[in-house]
């Protein structure tokens, strides 16, 4: 795939001249040919003209907006022709039928947990994920499933703390606002991943608002939350651990305030560059016999869900195999 993600970290303006979009900020004017854009992530204040929006929607290019803390605030995307009434009906049917919903909700938690296990295994860390995971089967409600997930995640974070240097330990997960550096990176990374999943879902017939693990009213694109769970360990957590351990990210890359900590501009730039590199990294896919990028793995997950919904093949969550 030749299209790339563009991450705009400064304030600026998007302008259109024929089939080229220009990003103008106070220091420069950068041309971005329209057929080179996969999606745009806007972290600064961004002004966009309607001409640009028309072009972007014609080409099916989403723009994801984040506030200055790096939290997702919304997306621009014009839905094109990829609509299928059948799929939407099947999606809804699988929420309304509790047994079917639980099956999918559990699959997402199981996938997330097994990927967490792989991350810990990679660093030679002991863990009790399999034990806790056995409680999943007996869970009868979404709340219980969520509780199992929360217990696994909290054990997982404390295990990870065992290999993180002083100052970078998670201690406990804090979100809004994150209270320390690693929490800040987790929040930033999860928002980023969530938007990436939205882009992938928009390229399928799946309706992103109909979800199974998360309540469909939890957030606008709650299906993206469901799928993010599976990829957080593989894409975001591994990346954070590696950035810290390699000392690629340092104390100076954060803004430290009272009870809150956020990535600053240099931190964001480092994080985004590494994220993009990882999304583009490829692995040989065993079933497909082809090389696929991490980003593509997300799309494939959406395809697997479609096949499950139409009754073609039971959904098995992605678990890192390398």
């Amino acid at each position: 795939m030749t299209r790339k993600n563009y991450y705009l970290t400064t304030d600026g303006l998007l302008k259109r001249k024929e089939n080229t979009v220009y990003f103008l900020n106070k220091d420069s004017k950068r041309p971005i040919p329209i057929n080179k854009i996969y999606s745009i992530y806007a972290y600064g204040a961004l002004s966009i003209s309607s001409q640009v929006l028309n072009l972007l929607s014609r080409e099916g290019i989403p723009v994801h907006f984040f506030n200055r803390y790096g939290f997702y605030t919304g997306s621009f995307y014009l839905r094109e022709t990829l609509l299928s009434g059948d799929i939407i009906i099947k999606q809804a049917e699988h929420v309304l039928d509790n047994e079917r919903r639980m099956e999918l909700a559990k699959s997402f938690v199981r996938g997330a947990a097994l990927n967490m296990k792989r991350v810990l295994g990679y660093y030679g860390l002991e863990n009790g994920i399999s034990d806790t995971l056995s409680d999943l089967e007996s869970s009868g409600s979404i709340t219980e499933v969520m509780n199992v997930e929360a217990r696994i995640r909290s054990d997982y974070y404390s295990a990870i703390d065992g290999i993180l240097p002083e100052g970078f330990r998670i201690e406990r997960r804090t979100r809004r606002p994150p209270e320390n550096m690693t929490n800040a990176m987790i929040s930033f990374g999860n928002s980023l991943l969530y938007s990436t999943v939205i882009t992938e879902l928009y390229n399928t017939q799946l309706n992103p608002t109909i979800s199974y693990l998360h309540e469909p009213f939890a957030r606008r694109y709650s299906l993206a939350l469901d799928l993010s769970e599976i990829f957080k360990p593989t894409i975001i957590d591994r990346m954070i651990i590696s950035l810290i351990k390699k000392r690629a990210i340092k104390v100076e890359d954060f803004e430290h305030g009272m009870n809150q900590c956020l990535l600053n501009d240099s931190g964001k730039r480092k994080f985004l560059a590494e994220y993009d590199r990882r999304l583009g990294k490829t692995v040989k896919h065993r079933e497909l016999g082809r090389k696929v990028s991490y980003r593509r793995l997300i799309r494939l997950e959406a395809y697997k869900l479609i096949k499950h919904l139409i009754g073609q093949k039971r959904y098995e969550p992605f678990v890192m195999w390398w």
Partner: protein
């Protein structure tokens, strides 16, 4: 209307569905349920480009009732209906797509004096297709069959050489 007796009781079928029926039933099912991949498929783009470049002068698309989209038509002493294809490996599929067009134009639209051609610009080849009773009989069966396939569960994919270049490759084999 006695003229459309051949299609009576049968649903509206799109030309591409006839084509896919001969190529792959999984593809037929996905396509018919609006599970389409077109936005990204480079091959589809390539095909479109091929059309535009090879026949820009004569190009006059024929779209009827949203079912038929012949690539171009020429009015001579008769009406020539052309389908443009990349290669002749799917000969049967192409032929029946065109037979369906001819049948539809004749029996539903009442147009007489039709000629059908499949053009392979890359091979500098052109094949003429005409309606005969045997094909029409088969066409009716095909249409009935398509209806049954679409109403049923999605057919399991079968590995074939064309899978490699099919837009549904990942969806099928993941």
């Amino acid at each position: 209307m006695s003229m459309i007796s051949g299609l009576e009781g049968n649903p509206a079928v799109r030309g591409l569905q006839i084509n896919y029926y001969f190529i792959c039933r999984t593809k037929l099912w996905f396509f018919s349920h609006n599970i389409q991949m077109e936005r990204e498929s480079e091959l589809v783009k390539l095909g479109r480009l091929l059309h535009e470049e090879s026949y820009s002068r004569e190009k006059k698309e024929l779209i009827i009732d949203d079912l038929i989209a012949a690539d171009f038509v020429k009015r001579k002493d008769c009406l020539e209906v052309h389908e443009v294809k990349k290669s002749n490996t799917m000969e049967e599929a192409h032929r029946f797509q065109l037979i369906y067009y001819l049948f539809y134009l004749k029996h539903v639209k009442g147009i007489e004096n039709l000629k059908g051609f499949i053009d392979y610009p890359a091979l500098k080849k052109r094949t003429e297709v005409s309606l005969n009773d045997e094909d029409v009989e088969e066409l009716k069966n095909v249409i009935k069959d398509i209806d049954g396939i679409i109403r049923g569960p999605p057919p399991a994919p079968q590995r074939k050489p064309i899978c490699r270049s099919c837009a549904y490759f990942e969806l099928c084999w993941i």
